[in-house]
């Protein structure tokens, strides 16, 4: 008989039985990014969808090159190019229904345009003539968010509100790999899972947060793995495979709409250009790294698939190219026009009703403008 077995000896009361709150296995992402193009899964995809994705990718690439050129001409204050990431952007827009909402980050202009906003309005923030050039409610597109990950809780709140109203609306929130380190990313995912909000989080893992590579950003097995800790499924997908992106996002959106709760999707992709035109990418990465991704270009992947299956001929290719050119020409023309700005707008939208303090300041600016215009008139005489 041991001491512990003696009558009257101290026996600890066992704690209440512990159970995992949810089975983690179904939440875990695939071992490697999900792919459709070049696999048997591609045959099940509607050829029209593949053609549509191709056309949108080409248009998106053209938009990126045009906007980058506009920065060089001083027509845009800045442009964070999404070249190489077009598949993520297009899938984000096309996975949504019209009633759904998109919450983009500053790099997601292309998703905003693919959702139907006119190309020039989407550049308002980056041009610098105002912050948001469209009515978010009209297009169901939140303003492009510059602070990282802060738009994610907005998406959760909106989706939650829509669900309370029974509207069947889904919110898709986009963030980069760097943004997953922010506190708001955590809070948004946690709220979404607790509330079972109809929201889909799309992380575009393009390898770098400005200059910091993913290895210095996170020690997680993958960013999709982070989902498990919140109690939502994580999906790992090839972000350059537009068909895979469309399928995975559409599934996540459908699941959210049916009351299945949030999903975290990590799209593995690569940022082909520098962070913005103001960044020098040669300081933190080798050209050889970039070259390895050129063979995995989203347009190339789609073109190969379509060509091999005889779904794309030269005529169609030319047509798609011409449409993209027309869009670019239109964008150029818009951007080359001098914007008409009203300085008095500075005071118009601070509050619903101007405070007396702002009325005084508005009067001061108005007087300054009048003096300036009188001086200009005199000079002209």
């Amino acid at each position: 008989m041991t001491v512990m077995e003696q009558r009257g000896a101290y026996r600890p009361t066992p704690p209440p039985a512990w159970q995992p709150r949810t089975d983690p296995a179904p939440l875990l992402p695939d071992a490697e990014p999900y792919r459709v193009l070049g696999t048997g899964a591609a045959e099940k995809v509607d050829p029209e969808l593949l053609r549509l994705l191709y056309a949108e990718l080409v248009r998106g690439r053209r938009y990126n090159t045009q906007a980058t050129a506009l920065t060089k001409q001083g027509r845009l204050a800045v442009y964070p190019s999404s070249t190489g990431q077009e598949a993520c952007e297009i899938a984000a827009a096309l996975a949504l229904e019209e009633r759904d909402w998109l919450f983009p980050s500053y790099r997601d202009t292309l998703a905003v345009v693919a959702r139907g906003l006119d190309p020039a309005s989407a550049l308002t923030l980056l041009r610098g003539d105002w912050h948001t050039g469209y009515d978010p409610r009209e297009h169901r597109i939140a303003p492009l968010s510059t602070p990282l990950a802060t738009q994610l809780p907005h998406a959760v709140g909106l989706a939650h509100a829509a669900r309370l109203k029974g509207d069947g609306v889904v919110a898709l929130a986009m963030v980069g790999d760097g943004g997953t380190s922010e506190g708001d990313f955590h809070e948004a995912l946690n709220f979404a899972a607790v509330w079972q909000a109809p929201v889909v989080f799309l992380v575009q893992n393009n390898g770098f947060a400005i200059s910091v590579p993913l290895a210095k950003q996170t020690a997680a097995p993958s960013l999709a793995h982070k989902a498990v800790g919140y109690g939502m499924p994580g999906r790992l997908v090839d972000g350059n495979d537009a068909a895979a992106m469309h399928e995975v996002l559409s599934e996540a959106v459908a699941r959210a709409r049916e009351g299945g709760g949030p999903t975290l999707v990590e799209a593995v992709t690569y940022r082909m250009e520098a962070h913005t035109n103001a960044d020098d990418a040669t300081r933190y990465r080798q050209d050889t790294d970039v070259d390895a991704w050129r063979d995995h270009d989203p347009i190339l992947l789609m073109e190969r698939e379509l060509t091999e299956r005889g779904l794309l001929d030269d005529d169609m290719k030319r047509q798609v190219g011409d449409d993209a050119e027309a869009m670019a020409a239109d964008l150029r023309e818009h951007m080359n026009q001098e914007p008409v700005l009203d300085p008095m707008d500075l005071f118009t939208h601070v509050y619903a009703e101007q405070t007396s303090q702002l009325r005084e300041q508005a009067a001061q600016l108005r007087a300054e403008l009048e003096v300036a215009s009188e001086e200009a008139e005199e000079e002209a005489r």
């Binding site: 105002w130 912050h131 948001t132 469209y134 009515d135 978010p136 409610r137 009209e138 939140a142 303003p143 602070p147 802060t150 994610l152 809780p153 907005h154 998406a155 959760v156 709140g157 909106l158 989706a159 939650h160 509100a161 829509a162 309370l164 109203k165 919110a171 506190g183 708001d184 809070e187 948004a188 946690n190 709220f191 607790v194 707008d345 118009t348 939208h349 601070v350 509050y351 619903a352 405070t355 007396s356 303090q357």
Partner: protein, 342 residues
């Protein structure tokens, strides 16, 4: 000023109500009147808030309208932004002044400027309730006066009541506002009582109007929130010294009621600004400058400030030395005899 019809009372009429109860009543009446009003925060549900301001709301309106959230202030305010984008009127509780700091980025980068960045297309009618200030013996991070941060942010209204009836009326007005309001609740006045009859028609003041709490002729005490009762007490005490002090309760820091304040100082010729938060970079400096700009030729003495010291909020056993009290105010009033001293 508008009045709202009486609603069935949750407590017997004519029994003194506390400020906390009046705030709860304002939430309840707003929720009953407008189904888009939602209350969310940590502990606002079953517990009724740590100060019991939200007591009974979850039971009456359900957990979808009065929601216990995960413990995350940025998440609480961030999700409220999305809810407001979808047409709801969220009222969020920050529990304690210093607990609101994690939500600062949401407040400053999004809540305050959503109307502006969308050229008026997307106003955010969010009320952020922040219990603030000291005097309740709270340990560290439970007694900050954070109003200077809020008033420095364009796009926010900043409101703080000092009386039970203003607590009701101003919170109703804040929730009805189409702009975001930081509603600062002076927590040491939560238990102050008044013969406030919730069954009588209530006054709902528009945000942005100061009120003369006590008329006087010889100097103006300009103050707000928790310092209002202290100033009224000081004004009574000053009578013995021959001072007839006017007390102006600002009620709203943004918008600021220059008119009421300047009119008072022009009448009295002397002014002291009184508040709990630190003086350097505090609201008092701004107020003193505005008064000087408007009333220079009426002033018989410099505008003085009685503020908290420029220190992190002290531990509770020392807070009585930090908080502006009657003596410190009377000392400042004595210094207003500028001519005699110079």
């Amino acid at each position: 000023m508008t009045t709202v019809a009486a609603k069935p009372a949750t407590k017997p009429a004519n029994k003194p109500a506390t400020m906390a109860q009046a705030l709860g009543r304002a939430l309840r009446d707003s929720m009953a009147e407008d189904p888009s009003v939602h209350v969310l925060g940590e502990d606002v549900g079953a517990l009724g808030g740590v100060f019991r301001v939200t007591d009974g709301l979850a039971a009456e309106f359900g957990e979808d309208r009065c929601t216990d959230t995960p413990l995350a202030e940025a998440g609480i305010l961030g999700t409220a932004v999305g809810m407001a984008m979808y047409g709801l009127r969220p009222v969020v509780e920050m529990q304690f002044d210093a607990f609101a700091y994690p939500a600062f980025e949401q407040l400053i980068s999004h809540v305050a400027r959503m109307r502006n960045r969308t050229r008026g297309a997307m106003p955010l009618p969010i009320t952020v309730r922040v219990p603030y200030g000291g005097g309740i013996g709270g340990v560290e991070h439970h007694s900050d006066s954070s109003e200077a941060y809020y008033i420095a942010t364009p796009g926010l209204h900043v409101v703080t009541p000092a009386t039970v009836s203003d607590a009701y009326g101003l919170l109703r007005a804040s929730i009805a506002s189409d702009d975001p309001v930081v509603f600062l609740e002076p927590k040491r006045l939560y238990w102050s009582k008044a013969d406030w009859n919730p069954e009588a028609p209530q006054t709902v003041e528009p945000i942005g109007r100061a009120v003369v709490r006590r008329p006087g002729r010889s100097a103006t005490l300009i103050t707000y929130g928790p310092s209002v009762p202290v100033c009224l007490e000081a004004a009574e005490a000053a009578r013995a010294e021959g001072w007839d002090l006017e007390v102006v309760d600002l009620r709203s820091l943004v918008p600021f009621d220059d008119e009421t304040v300047a009119a008072s100082v022009r009448r009295t010729g002397r002014a002291v600004v009184v508040h709990e938060s630190g003086g350097f970079g505090g609201p008092g400096g701004e107020i003193a400058a505005r008064v000087t700009e408007r009333c220079f030729h009426h002033l018989e003495a410099p505008v003085l400030r009685v503020a908290g010291f420029d220190i992190p909020y002290p531990p509770p056993m020392l807070e009585k030395h930090h908080l502006p009290g009657v003596d410190r105010i009377l000392d400042a009033v004595a210094r207003l005899q500028w001519e005699a001293d110079s």
